[in-house]
C-alpha cells in the first residue's frame, strides 16, 4: 500500500514540480504534432485532400489563375476534397467525374465562365461558350462528338491556365500562331479534315508574321484576329472585308468605291485576298499589278491596261520621292539650309502613303490627283535646292577679284623686293 502511495506521490511530485511539468507539456506537444501529420488530421491550404495523392497536379495548379481565385479540383472534376480516403473522396454522391470528356469539360468551363453573375467581379467576358458553340471547333466537339477538335483546354491549358495578358500564356498574341499550329500543323491530325498544314510557315513569312515575331508588334493580325478565337470559323468570301478592314480601314473604304466591290457582292471576288493572298500576305509593291490582275483579266484588256497605268503612276511617285529624299539629304550633309524642304518632304511622304490606300479605288482620277501633287511638291523641292546650289556656285566668282588683287600685290611686292636687292648690290 505505501509503495503505491509512494509511487503516486512520486508521480504527482514529478508532475507538479518545474522540470516535470516541462516534460509533460512537451510530451503532449510532440504527440499532437505526430497526430497532426496523420492523413486523418492533415490540413493543407484549402483543406484539399486531393493533393495528398495528386501532388503533381497541385504544382501545376499553383501558379494558375484559377487556384489564385479559389477554383480547385472539385470545381472541374467533382469529388469531395475534404475526404482523405480515396473511396470516400471519389464516391458516387460527390459528383466525381474523373477526367471529363471534352464536351463535358466545355460545359464545366461554361458553368462559371458563361455565368454572367458569377463572372461579374472578375471583369471578363462571358460569351466564350456561346461563341464556341457557333464555331467549327464547337460544332465538331459538341454536335459531332469529334474529340479531336479543339476545346477550351487545348488552347488555354489544363491545370496551368494563366491570364491571356500574361506573355507566357499560350493565347498571348505572340503565342497564338504556335498554339493553333499544335493541331493545324499536324499532318496526321489534319488529314481527315483536308486542312492545309503549312499555314504557320506561310504566316511566319508574311508581313503580319514578321511584324509579330520579329518586331514584337502585338497589334498585328494573328490567327485569332482574323478567324476569331472562341468563334473560330474561317472567314468566308464575304467576311474578309470586315476582317481585314478592322485595321485597314481606309483601304476597305476605298475598295468599296472600286469596280471590284460589285464583283465581291456577286461572290466572284474576295475583297482583299484575291490580290494580296491571306496567310502569306506580303508587303505589297506596285509589281502586284503585274501578277494579281492577270488572275482574271487578260493582257491587253482595258482593265489590265488601267492596272498598268496605275502601276506606272505609283512607281513614278515613289521614284520622285526617293530621288528628292536623296537630294535633300545630300544637300543637308553638305551644309545647305534645307529645313523647309525637309518639312515639305514629310508632307510628300504623307501623300505617298495616302496614295497607297487610295489606289484601292482603282480610279485613275483620284490617283492622278495625288500623283500630280506629289510630283509637283518634289519638283519644287528640287528646284529650291538647285537654286541654293547655284547661289553657292556664285561665290566662286568672288575668287576672280580676289586673285586679281593677290596677283597685283605679289607683283608689286616682288618688284619692291627686287628693287631693294638691286639697291643693296
Amino acid at each position: 500500500m505505501s509503495h503505491h502511495r509512494n509511487l503516486n506521490h512520486q508521480a504527482a511530485h514529478f508532475i507538479t514540480n518545474e522540470r516535470g511539468s516541462f516534460f509533460v507539456y512537451f510530451g503532449i506537444l510532440i504527440i499532437l504534432l505526430f497526430l497532426s501529420t496523420h492523413p486523418l488530421f492533415a490540413n493543407t491550404d484549402n483543406e484539399n485532400q486531393c493533393i495528398a495523392c495528386h501532388s503533381d497536379y497541385w504544382e501545376e495548379m499553383q501558379a494558375s489563375i484559377h487556384s489564385r481565385n479559389g477554383v480547385a479540383c472539385q470545381d472541374c472534376h467533382g469529388g469531395d476534397p475534404a475526404q482523405a480516403d480515396q473511396a470516400l473522396a471519389k464516391g458516387p454522391e460527390t459528383g466525381y467525374i474523373g477526367v471529363p470528356e471534352k464536351d463535358q469539360a466545355v460545359q464545366r468551363c461554361g458553368n462559371c465562365h458563361a455565368n454572367v453573375e458569377f463572372m461579374n467581379p472578375y471583369g471578363i467576358r462571358t460569351d466564350q461558350l456561346a461563341r464556341y458553340l457557333t464555331s467549327t471547333h464547337g460544332k465538331r466537339v459538341m454536335v459531332d462528338h469529334d474529340m479531336k477538335a479543339a476545346a477550351c483546354m487545348d488552347c488555354h491549358g489544363y491545370h496551368d491556365v494563366i491570364a491571356v495578358s500574361d506573355p507566357n500564356s499560350p493565347v498571348y498574341p505572340s503565342n497564338v500562331p504556335k498554339t493553333c499550329n499544335h493541331c493545324h500543323g499536324n499532318e496526321r491530325l489534319m488529314e481527315p479534315y483536308h486542312h492545309p498544314t503549312d499555314v504557320f510557315d506561310q504566316y511566319r513569312e508574311s508581313v503580319h508574321g514578321k511584324a509579330l515575331f520579329e518586331k514584337g508588334n502585338l497589334a498585328v493580325a494573328n490567327c485569332a484576329a482574323c478567324h476569331g478565337s472562341h468563334g473560330a470559323v474561317p472567314p468566308g468570301v464575304k467576311d474578309l472585308g470586315a476582317t481585314c478592314g478592322k485595321c485597314h480601314v481606309n483601304e476597305k473604304k476605298y475598295f468599296l468605291e472600286s469596280p471590284h466591290a460589285a464583283a465581291m457582292v456577286e461572290g466572284k471576288f474576295s475583297e482583299c485576298t484575291s490580290c494580296h493572298g491571306f496567310h502569306d500576305v506580303q508587303h505589297p509593291t506596285a509589281a502586284l499589278y503585274e501578277k494579281a490582275c492577270l488572275n482574271c483579266h487578260a493582257t491587253g484588256t482595258t482593265e489590265y491596261q488601267l492596272g498598268q497605268a496605275i502601276e506606272r503612276e505609283l512607281n513614278n511617285a515613289e521614284q520622285a520621292f526617293e530621288k528628292t529624299k536623296g537630294t535633300v539629304k545630300q544637300a543637308a550633309i553638305e551644309g545647305f539650309f534645307v529645313e523647309e524642304e525637309a518639312a515639305n518632304l514629310e508632307e510628300v511622304k504623307t501623300h505617298l502613303i495616302e496614295i497607297k490606300s487610295v489606289q484601292h479605288t482603282l480610279n485613275n482620277h483620284f490617283l492622278t490627283e495625288r500623283h500630280d501633287a506629289i510630283v509637283k511638291s518634289t519638283d519644287e523641292i528640287e528646284r529650291s535646292i538647285r537654286h541654293k546650289r547655284l547661289s553657292h556656285k556664285q561665290r566662286q566668282w568672288m575668287l576672280v577679284p580676289i586673285w586679281v588683287f593677290i596677283v597685283i600685290m605679289v607683283l608689286v611686292l616682288y618688284r619692291k623686293y627686287k628693287q631693294l636687292k638691286n639697291q643693296k648690290d
Binding site: 543637308a332 550633309i333 553638305e334 551644309g335 545647305f336 539650309f337 561665290r395 566662286q396 568672288m398 575668287l399 580676289i402 586673285w403 593677290i406 600685290m409 605679289v410 611686292l413 616682288y414 619692291k416 623686293y417 631693294l420 636687292k421 643693296k424
Partner: protein, 389 residues
C-alpha cells in the same frame, strides 16, 4: 600735321629714342645669305595660327559646345550669318594647312641643319609646337559633332586606350566617361579653345625669342658659325619681310580658294548608335593609324611612339657637324625614307577598306591595304567569322 602732333604728345611721355634702338635693331636684323623663300615657312605657320585664332573667335560667337546644340550651331554658322560659311571653311582648311606648313617648316629646319648646336632647344620647342598643332586638330575635329567627328574621336581615343597599363585611365580621362559623349565634347572644347591657344602663344613666343636671340642659322658647320654683319646680311625688314608678304598673299589666296572650291561638309549629326563603315582618323594621323594595324598592340604602340621620340632626340643623336645637306647623305637619306614611308602608309591607310575602280576593274582594299578583286560585298562574304572580328 596730325602725325607731328601725335609724335610730340608721345615723346613728352615716353622715351621714344630709347625704344627706337632695339626696335630698329630687330627690324633691320641682318639675315645670313642662305635665308631664302623656304625661310618664310615659319612666319607662315604664325600667320596661319593667327588666322585660326581670329576665325576661331568668330566661330565661338555662334558655336554651342553641347551635344544638343553643337551640330545645329555649326549648321547655323554655315547658313545664316553673313560670311559665316567662309569663316568656318577658312578655319577648317586653315587647320589642315597649318599642319602642312608647320611640317614643311620643320622639314626645312631639318634639311638646313638648323636644329644642330646651339639651337637644339629651339628645335625641341618646335617639335612641341608641331605636336600641339596636331592635338589642336584632334580636339577641334570633334567640335562639329557630326558622324565623322564622333567616330574618328572614338577610334582615336580607343587607340590611346590601348597603351599598356595606363591606357584605360588615359582613355577615360580623355573621354570624360566610358564612351565619347557630352563630357568629351566639353573637355575637347576647353582644350581647343583656351588651354592650347595660350600654350601655343607661350611656346611660339619662346620659340621666336630663341630664334631672335641666337640668330637664324647659317649653313656653316657647327661651332664655326660666323656672325652676320650688316654689310653681308639681308635686312629682315624690309627685304625678308617682302618675301614673307608675297608668300603670305599666295597662301591667303590658296586658303580662300580651298574654302570656296572645296568646302567641308556639315555632315550628318553624330549618332552613337550607328557606326559608319571604315572610320579613319584625319589624314595627318593616317600613317600612324595604318602602321598600328600591322603590329600586335604593344609592338604597334612602341613603333608609333618611336616617331615623336626620334624627333625630340634627333639633334642629340646627330653627331655630324655639317649643316649643308649635300654633306649629310645619311641624314638626308633617312629623311627621304621617313617621308616616303609617311606618304606610302598614308596612301595605304586612305585606300584601306574602300572599293576602287582601277583600269575598269573593281578592287576592294582590305584593312591592311591589300587589294582584292571584286566588290566590298563580295569580299565581306568571303571573310570567316574570326576575320570579321
Amino acid at each position: 600735321m596730325i602725325k607731328r602732333l601725335v609724335d610730340a604728345w608721345v615723346r613728352q611721355r615716353f622715351d621714344v629714342d630709347k625704344m627706337r634702338g632695339p626696335v630698329e635693331k630687330q627690324l633691320k636684323k641682318p639675315l645670313p645669305h642662305n635665308v631664302g623663300w623656304f625661310h618664310t615657312l615659319g612666319s607662315m605657320s604664325l600667320f596661319l595660327f593667327l588666322s585660326q585664332v581670329v576665325t576661331g573667335i568668330l566661330l565661338l560667337v555662334y558655336y554651342r559646345p553641347t551635344v544638343n546644340e553643337a551640330f545645329e550651331s555649326v549648321k547655323f554658322i554655315m547658313t545664316k550669318p553673313y560670311m559665316g560659311w567662309l569663316y568656318r571653311q577658312v578655319h577648317a582648311w586653315g587647320a589642315n594647312l597649318m599642319v602642312i606648313v608647320v611640317f614643311l617648316h620643320m622639314l626645312r629646319t631639318y634639311i638646313t641643319g638648323s636644329y644642330k648646336k646651339p639651337r637644339e632647344v629651339t628645335w625641341i620647342f618646335g617639335v612641341f609646337l608641331f605636336i600641339f598643332t596636331m592635338i589642336f586638330g584632334f580636339t577641334g575635329y570633334l567640335l562639329p559633332w557630326n558622324q565623322l567627328a564622333y567616330w574618328a574621336t572614338t577610334v582615336g581615343t580607343e587607340v590611346a586606350g590601348s597603351v599598356p597599363i595606363v591606357g584605360e585611365w588615359i582613355r577615360t580621362l580623355m573621354r570624360g566617361g566610358p564612351s565619347v559623349g557630352s563630357e568629351t565634347l566639353s573637355r575637347f572644347f576647353v582644350i581647343h579653345v583656351i588651354i592650347l591657344p595660350w600654350l601655343l602663344v607661350l611656346l611660339v613666343l619662346i620659340h621666336l625669342f630663341l630664334v631672335r636671340l641666337q640668330g637664324v642659322a647659317t649653313m656653316e658647320r657647327v661651332d664655326e658659325e660666323k656672325e652676320v654683319d650688316k654689310a653681308h646680311g639681308t635686312p629682315f625688314f624690309p627685304t625678308h619681310v617682302l618675301k614673307e608678304g608675297i608668300v603670305f598673299y599666295i597662301l591667303l589666296g590658296i586658303l580662300i580658294t580651298l574654302a570656296i572650291l572645296a568646302p567641308f561638309d556639315l555632315g550628318e549629326k553624330a549618332d552613337p548608335l550607328t557606326t559608319p563603315h571604315a572610320i579613319k582618323p584625319e589624314w595627318y594621323f593616317l600613317p600612324f593609324y595604318q602602321v598600328l594595324k600591322y603590329f600586335p598592340k604593344l609592338a604597334g604602340i612602341f613603333v608609333v611612339t618611336l616617331a615623336p621620340i626620334f624627333l625630340f632626340l634627333w639633334p642629340f643623336l646627330d653627331r655630324n657637324k655639317e649643316r649643308d645637306p649635300r654633306k649629310r647623305p645619311f641624314a638626308v637619306g633617312f629623311c627621304i625614307l621617313v617621308l616616303l614611308s609617311l606618304f606610302i602608309f598614308g596612301v595605304v591607310g586612305y585606300l584601306s577598306e574602300t572599293e576602287r575602280q582601277l583600269f575598269g576593274k573593281t578592287y576592294y582594299f582590305d584593312v591592311y591595304g591589300l587589294p582584292h578583286a571584286g566588290t566590298a560585298a563580295e569580299h565581306m562574304a568571303k571573310l570567316t567569322d574570326a576575320e570579321v572580328k
